[in-house]
């Protein structure tokens, strides 16, 4: 079942108008650095947020955001306008994060998982644990589990269930159909639940039948 997020959304500036963005993209393609500066500013916050959700770890986000914009700038000639500039840019950000995942995939995953389990257990064992702290520790666990999942499940789940993007938008960013997105996100969700059950954090769901 798609999750209805209860978290407040970021206060964000109004979305730039499509025609303004299209004009800026044309100018940037023509070599206008000031146009790219404006696009950088318009899309910095959403790309930062997008990458932060995907990466899970804030330590690398700054560099990844810079990398995404730099790669987008040198690839601007390949933007054909079939999708919106925003979708295209988010797709580049996703590729940058995928490369980051691959570069950092190692035995660290298992190590992080064990570490996360410990920290959450420690946090939960204190009755007066700070709510924010507990949330952070839970986030570590979830991202540790996600790190062990295939990329296609992980990214569908993050975009749909964590970042809370509308299905059509998340699907467009991944280049798949909304139905396919839902299947991937659901599978990721089931795997996540199974892992959390195995770690003893969640009780098995009662059979509805």
């Amino acid at each position: 079942m798609p999750r209805v997020t209860t978290q407040p959304q970021l206060p964000s500036a109004p979305r730039p108008a499509g025609d303004e963005v299209a004009a800026l993209v044309e100018q940037a393609r023509a070599g206008r650095t000031d146009a790219w500066a404006r696009l950088y500013q318009l899309f910095f916050a959403p790309i930062f947020r997008h990458i932060r959700y995907l990466a899970g770890d804030h330590a690398a986000v700054e560099d990844l955001v810079q990398e995404a914009f730099a790669r987008a700038l040198v690839s601007l000639g390949t933007f054909d306008g079939r999708s919106s500039f925003s979708t295209w840019l988010h797709g580049i950000a996703l590729n940058v994060v995928r490369n980051h995942w691959r570069a950092s995939a190692s035995t660290q995953t298992a190590h992080h998982r064990l570490e996360a389990m410990h920290t959450v257990r420690d946090a939960a064992s204190h009755g007066d644990v700070d709510r924010t702290h507990l949330a952070k520790e839970r986030a570590k666990v979830v991202y540790a589990v996600l790190a062990g999942m295939p990329e296609h499940l992980r990214e569908a789940f993050v975009l749909r269930d964590l970042e809370g993007l509308p299905p059509h938008e998340a699907a467009a960013q991944l280049g798949i159909s909304p139905g396919n997105l839902a299947v991937r996100a659901t599978r990721a969700r089931q795997r996540l639940r199974a892992e959390l059950e195995a770690m003893g954090w969640l009780s098995p769901l009662e059979d509805a039948s």
Partner: protein, 365 residues
């Protein structure tokens, strides 16, 4: 055979509040991080990376130009970050500004709904029309009055703090999305700033009939108790009240942004300068300097930018734009650039421009 669709149908039909609670926590943790993040928006560093990726597309000259001409790229972000602190640490001033804004918007709404002052054809309005107009005017006066009373109360300080102390804590205006739009990046069109009308000292006259008489009609329950000529209430001249400092600042801010939106940059600059003069070393003045930097950039007045940075650093050596201003001076106005960048690194070891500073500082002095 179980298909994806079957699997999906089964999965989606099963609520899972326990897992949802976990995921809410994850989202909360990420949002918390995003809100607290202080991320340098070093546009020049991004261009340098693009140049490294493909020098044919992003030339070294473009990078050099960006390093020279874009020293302030993070205003909008910092404003947004500052806004969170401002609204949290100064609820009293935020309430005051909200009240002033509410009264202004109410007045604007009256006007936009046809209750415009002194139109010839309004003079012959029906008694019912005038009754409605009077009721709305009365409501506006009450709202404005409450706002002023509340504002005075707030400025006097619920906690006994001096009135002007509130002004030194920032304001709720920072929190508005349109405020976050006031930025410094090169613009293709005027910033999308919602126009803010100056706060009127009194509700605008709605009709040639004195306000008090109309108001009396508005509350008359029936013709039987309509005031006769002999019993008509006295027309009392409105008491002139000098606008408070907060109101004057709000008016200046509104006028500055209205002028900016109308592309009248000269007037906008003059209004921000007047605001700075009034606001002293408060956060409002700090923010107004950011607006002046942006305006100077838009006018292409490099000399003015340098002068503003110097003035700003004298007044706000640790202000929210000090990092940008110091970097700007190193880029544009330093006779000894390496020394300037070394001093920058010492003052801002985690500064937004540390990458360039480290490149240019050139090792030990």
């Amino acid at each position: 055979m179980i298909t994806d669709v079957d699997e999906l149908a089964v999965a989606e039909g099963r609520p899972d509040p326990a897992l949802d609670a976990w995921l809410d926590d994850v989202s909360a943790a990420v949002e918390h991080d995003v809100h607290r993040a202080h991320v340098p928006w070093d546009f020049a560093a991004m261009l340098a990376r693009a140049h490294a990726l493909d020098p044919a597309i992003v030339s070294a000259q473009a990078v050099a130009e960006a390093e020279q001409s874009e020293p302030v790229v993070s205003l909008a972000h910092r404003r947004a970050a500052a806004a969170q602190g401002a609204t949290h640490d100064d609820p009293a001033f935020a309430r005051l500004i909200d009240d002033v804004r509410a009264a202004t918007e109410h007045d604007a709404a009256l006007r936009m709904n046809g209750v415009t002052p002194l139109r010839a054809h309004d003079r012959g309005a029906s008694p019912m029309g005038r009754l409605v107009v009077a009721a709305v005017a009365l409501a506006a006066a009450v709202v404005l009055g409450l706002g002023v009373v509340e504002g005075v109360h707030v400025l006097r300080g619920d906690d006994g703090a001096p009135a002007d102390a509130a002004l030194h804590q920032g304001s709720a205006r920072d929190a508005s999305p349109e405020r976050a739009e006031i930025d410094d990046a090169p613009r293709v069109r005027p910033p999308a700033v919602a126009p803010r009308e100056p706060v009127p000292p009194e509700p605008a006259p709605l009709d040639p009939t004195p306000r008090e008489v109309v108001a009396a009609e508005a509350v008359a329950p029936s013709p039987a108790v309509r005031p006769t000529k002999a019993r008509a209430p006295k027309v009392v001249p409105p008491v002139e009240r000098a606008p408070s400092l907060a109101e004057r600042l709000a008016v200046l801010d509104g006028e500055a942004h209205a002028a900016w939106k109308a592309n009248d940059l000269t007037t906008a600059e003059a209004k921000f300068e007047a605001l700075i003069e009034l606001a002293g070393t408060s956060r409002l003045a700090d923010l107004a300097y950011g607006d002046l930097f942006t305006l100077a950039r838009r006018r292409g007045d490099a000399g003015r930018e340098v002068a503003l940075w110097k003035t700003y650093l004298r007044v706000f050596p640790e202000g929210r734009f000090a990092d940008d201003a110091r970097a700007g001076l190193c880029r544009r106005d330093a006779s000894d650039r390496p020394a300037c960048w070394r001093a920058y690194l010492e003052a801002f070891p985690e500064g937004s421009y540390r990458a360039q500073a480290e490149r240019e500082a050139g090792g030990a002095p």
